[in-house]
Amino acid sequence: MTTLLQLFSVAAISAGAFFFFAGTVGLLRFPDSLTRLHALTKADNLGLGLVVLGLLPRAENTLSALKLLVIWALVLLSGASTAQLIGRALRRGRK
Amino acid sequence: MTPSVLAGLTGAALVGLGLYGLILHPHPLRKLLAFNLIGSGVFLVFGIVARRGAAAGFRFDPVPQAMVITGIVVAFAASAIAVALILRLSMESRNVTLDPEVWTRPNGGDAT
């Protein structure tokens, strides 16, 4: 692994960890359930994406790298659609 | 403390917690849940034997691990049977508790 790639890996993983931190801060500080859901789904998905990006240069082979990307894609898909479902359930519950 | 000992102690604590819930919860589904907690605690205790028994060039002992995998599936099958029995019980009696006092009360004494 070249120094440049290593630097990139470190930067991406640190940024990812930061976004997870930001997501949890939002979770603790935001006033109601819908905004908390927002903090959770947006920030954490970005954080996971950055972590995956940072791990890519360390992947054993192409297949592992591809799997990492598929993991992120799956989490994005399920995060987006389950956020819709949870949000709807929240709104129905309030009525 | 090595990770395996820590995991083993965690497993022991889980067995204790599960036992507590199993005895105290009146709702059969909660009892089942607590029982599953005991099960996973036992698997953990079993699993650290796998880690401690690292020999023969493995990083772990594959025999207990393979048996834990089998055990998880069997535990699920047993849970499924238990759920079916609980559902049938509630259908027959309109009651979901295992509390004997409720059972002996006239009119079934609806639990809700």
Binding site: V70, L74, S81, T82, Q84, L85 | P3, V5, L6, A7, L9, T10, G11, A12, G16, L17, L19, Y20, G21, L24, H25, P26, H27, L33, N36, F43, L44, G47, V49, R51, R52, G53, A55, A56, G57, F58, F60, D61, P62, V63, Q65, A66, M67, V68, I69, V73, V74, F76, A77, A80, I81, V83, A84, I86, S90, V96, T97, D99, A111, T112
Partner: protein
């Protein structure tokens, strides 16, 4: 100082904390949510014990499918918050039970701290058996499951079938042969349909992949089959498919296929290779993979059948 021990302690306390929540939560729903989260956390502990195979099984069967089983049961009972105050145990009983539980946990913990070092292990024996009969399998766990302890694995498949028979037989006589009640009655919300439509094909692919790599890498028939089962249940929960009638020929064939093929191969081994469940050297790996393929089929059909429960009297119920 390393970060890893700290991480382990945080992880262990997190597992115990969530388990505590599961036990003490007021209602069933919160408790089941806690249980699913607990199962996912336990998967991390297994990763720390270098047991990715167990981690995957725990996440798929122990947490995911068991969680859905309990949720479905809670839904059918229709009463989620039904612990009447009169049934709440008294303080003295709580203290007594707590003491008993602490005693058991303490004894178990002491036993763990006093385990012999180096501990006895079957690993060398298993390694010999694996390199002898299960030749070509890089994943020692698959070698143990399919060769060293193959008898256990076959009986465990039979246990699954017995469990399905047990669940079915609990249903009403009138309902025999009908389909179990669907997992969702009303029209699902659009994002759920989208999610199920996209997730299921990808999940089936991943399930088959995990089965296939199981010979050499973490994974195998159990994990692959459990993922396939989960994907079938996703389509049922989004009302894209209903549960099949329990007298469907294909369903019964698929469920029996795994143990049947396993048994036949075992008997053939007795005739051709000298002992029960001995595989002829050289072609052991293809044979094991073939058995595993049928096992995947059996697991993928038996697990959802265990979750959807006995046949239902009214087709709409």
């Amino acid at each position: 100082m390393s970060v890893l021990p700290v991480l382990d302690v945080v992880l262990a306390s997190l597992v115990i904390g969530v388990a505590l929540f599961t036990i003490t939560a007021r209602d069933l729903f919160a408790s089941v949510v806690g249980y699913v989260a607990y199962g996912l956390l336990l998967a991390f502990v297994w990763i720390r014990l270098y047991a990715p195979d167990v981690a995957l099984t725990e996440a798929a069967v122990g947490s995911g499918v068991t969680g859905v089983l309990l949720i479905t049961a809670g839904k059918r009972l229709g009463a989620l918050k039904n612990a009447a105050p009169e049934m709440r145990p008294g303080l003295s009983l709580k203290i007594l039970t707590g003491a008993l539980a602490a005693l058991v946990a303490g004894a178990l913990g002491t036993a763990i701290l006093m385990l012999p070092d180096p501990p006895p292990s079957l690993a060398p024996e298993a390694a010999a058996a694996a390199s002898g009969a299960g030749a070509g399998l890089e994943n020692p766990i698959t070698a143990v499951l399919m060769s060293y302890r193959s008898f256990d694995t076959m009986l465990e498949k039979i246990v699954l079938i017995l469990a399905v028979v047990g669940v079915w037989s609990v249903g009403a006589d009138k309902a025999w042969g009908r389909a179990p009640a669907p997992l969702r009655q009303s029209r699902p919300y659009a994002p759920m349909v989208l999610l199920a439509r996209t997730l299921a094909p990808v999940g089936v692919l991943i399930g088959i992949h995990i089965f296939w790599t199981g010979a050499d890498a973490p994974g195998g028939a159990f994990q692959g089959g459990a993922l396939l089962a989960a994907m079938w249940m996703v389509t049922m929960m989004a009302r894209l498919a209903g549960p099949p009638r329990i007298d469907a020929q294909w369903l019964r064939m698929a469920m029996v296929a795994g143990p049947a093929v396993f048994l036949v191969t075992g008997l053939a081994g007795g005739v051709l290779a000298g002992s029960f469940f001995a595989y002829p050297p050289g072609i052991a790996k293809p044979i094991i993979l073939a058995i595993e393929a049928f096992m995947v089929l059996s697991i993928a059909t038996a697990l959802p059948m265990l979750v959807v429960g006995p046949p239902s009297e009214r087709p709409d119920q």
